[in-house]
């Protein structure tokens, strides 16, 4: 069952798109992205849901911001150390390599979301920032509504959370 938030991220999508369609767009893109980059077949076990704020507490969290003139978005990918080898296929991986690989997953995921007409018609093209890594249990709690869910490889999860909102107007000194 999906949660809904009338003033949340879902309300930004075209009314013609159902919750299920939006959810599937985000989750299937994660599966496609991990397959394309890592050659890993992953699955989802539960539909991705809209939440009032993203909450993820993983040992490794990669965050990537993106923005246009009108919108700003943030993507979080979370993965625990024990799950990494199930996505990358090797055990002896250090934190910088984790960051490198999942940073690239984040980069490509954002691009692949923009490739969906349903997304780009609503939000336009978002330009991505350089990804950053938070590690060891630092929770990620932005106060904006988003969609989140997990993909699994060999029963080990990787978390994806994506939030987008209209930019708030700012006063700029001349």
């Amino acid at each position: 069952m999906f949660s809904t938030h009338d003033d949340g991220m879902y309300s930004l999508f075209a009314p013609s798109m159902t919750l299920n369609e939006v959810s599937t767009m985000f989750s299937s893109t994660a599966i496609e992205c991990v397959d394309a980059l890592l050659g890993v077949n992953s699955i989802i076990k539960a539909p991705w849901v809209f939440v009032p704020r993203l909450e993820a507490e993983y040992e490794n969290i990669i965050i990537m911001g993106s923005a246009s003139n009108q919108f700003q978005a943030i993507l979080a990918i979370g993965i625990n150390d024990d799950a990494i080898n199930h996505f990358i296929g090797k055990n002896d991986i250090d934190r910088s390599e984790t960051f490198d690989i999942f940073g690239e997953v984040a980069n490509n995921y954002c691009a692949m979301i923009i490739d969906h007409n349903e997304f780009v018609e609503q939000f336009g093209i978002l330009n991505q920032s350089i990804p950053v890594l938070y590690s060891k249990g630092i929770p990620f709690l932005p106060f904006i509504s988003g969609i989140e869910g997990k993909i699994y490889s060999n029963n080990q999860p990787a978390y994806f959370g994506f939030a987008i909102q209209k930019k708030r107007s700012a006063t700029v000194n001349p």
Binding site: A36, E97, D100, N107, N108, C110, A111, G124, Q128
Partner: protein
């Protein structure tokens, strides 16, 4: 015929390895150097004068678009191919600055259609030479 040389620049070492393998094994290039940001790109181009350099766009320190302009400003005949996940006008901008090709990430090296497109993009760079 001499083997063509290439420099590969991307802020992801993971992707660099994939791209280098592809250039060496599938395209028959000799990848003479790799770099991780736009500063590396300009410096490596000056040192190696490769037949081709690939640039990511979103990179720390100096991004690929700036490196593209700097390289072409100094070496107007440089063959620069962008390999990036940036969408929208970036492709047109890079081509207008003088890039010879633009390959969109993700790099689906297991997808034969993608591989063929990649090969054709690189081949087209040298088609008129």
């Amino acid at each position: 015929m001499a083997v063509k040389t290439a420099v590969i620049v991307d802020d992801s070492k993971f992707l660099i390895k994939q791209i280098v393998d592809f250039f060496n094994k599938q395209l028959g290039f000799d990848v003479v150097a790799t770099g991780n940001d736009g500063n590396d790109a300009v410096e490596l181009y000056r040192i190696h004068r490769p037949d081709l350099i690939t640039l990511d766009i979103t990179m720390p320190n100096r991004d690929g678009m700036e490196a593209l302009k700097d390289i072409l400003n100094e070496f107007p005949d440089a063959n620069v191919v962008m390999i990036s996940a940036v969408r929208g006008n970036a492709m047109l901008e890079c081509m207008s600055f003088g890039a010879k090709g633009y390959i969109e990430k993700p790099l689906k090296f297991s997808d034969s259609a993608f591989v063929q497109d990649f090969k054709e993009t690189i081949s087209d760079v040298f088609a008129d030479k």
